[in-house]
């Protein structure tokens, strides 16, 4: 994996059901910690965007473009929000992910490098290069 990426990184927060086990005081504490964390990263110029997502939505899939309910709110895998990070290395992004206040409660943070261009376009380039080789 590249350890340098000029396009930044995305943190995807996974888990929608973990807050149910918390007391109101714990919830308030985690919320305050999370907000302070995001504010600090924004002030440092390390976070450029971030948003929570409502727990429910719809899934559109396949050739027939079928619409179904989902993801289920209680899913451990469902995405609850994201941060977009402007840091230069993968290690920096992972270090930030490890500060996530939700981790002790079961939240999982996916760290993904942002691509410079659409994967379709880079696939096409590879095919053209192979054809010309």
């Amino acid at each position: 994996m590249n350890t340098q990426n000029q396009n930044g990184y995305m943190l995807l927060f996974r888990g929608n059901d973990w807050t149910k086990r918390l007391s109101p005081e714990e919830k308030q504490k985690v919320t305050d910690q999370w907000m302070a964390w995001f504010r600090r990263l924004t002030d440092q110029g390390k976070a450029i965007a971030g948003n929570p997502l409502e727990p429910e939505g719809k899934i559109v899939s396949g050739k027939n473009r079928v619409v179904s309910d989902g993801p289920f709110a209680e899913s451990k895998e469902a995405i609850g929000g994201y941060f977009l990070l402007d840091v230069a290395s993968f290690d920096d992004a992972v270090a930030i992910a490890r500060e996530c206040p939700g981790l002790p409660y079961g939240v999982q943070v996916e760290v993904r490098p942002v691509a410079a261009e659409c994967p379709l376009a880079s696939e096409l380039k590879t095919e053209v290069q192979l054809a010309n080789a």
Partner: protein, 137 residues
């Protein structure tokens, strides 16, 4: 569910690397379709720039982030390949836009999610406080 959301919607593209099976011509056609689709939505003020994600990464979990695992795996059908933010007012319109996405013809799925104005934790915390007040009345 609210069908109105002034914070917009997020489209999360979920798929395997299905495009690896396409020929050069098919790929070029799809790229052109995607470009035209996105340019139209942007011109209408309905889409903001999205991003594609590399098919690599790690997942951090556990207290103090002590577990760092490779993944998601590129071949996973559930892996997120990119996202788009829509500035439209109803989930119906966001769904219609997702349905018009050129890549869907080849499989995969798109998750349509309302963006929250504030953290759901805050909202839940207020609800609990209200419930407590009612009990104490």
């Amino acid at each position: 569910m609210n069908t109105q959301d002034r914070n917009g919607y997020m489209l999360l593209y979920r798929s395997s690397e299905w495009y690896k099976t396409l020929s050069q011509e098919e790929l070029q056609k799809l790229i052109n379709q995607n470009k035209a689709w996105f340019e139209r939505l942007t011109a209408q003020g309905k889409a903001k720039p999205g991003r594609a994600l590399e098919r690599t990464g790690v997942t951090v979990s556990g207290k103090n982030g002590r577990f760092v695992m490779d993944g998601p795996f590129a071949e996973s059908k559930e892996a997120i390949g990119g996202y788009l933010i829509l500035d439209v007012e109803t989930i119906e319109e966001a769904i219609a836009i997702a349905q018009s996405s050129p890549g869907l013809a080849y499989g995969g799925s798109i998750e349509v999610r309302p963006m929250a104005e504030e953290c759901p934790l805050d909202i839940r915390s207020r609800e609990l406080a209200r419930e407590e007040q009612l009990v104490n009345v």
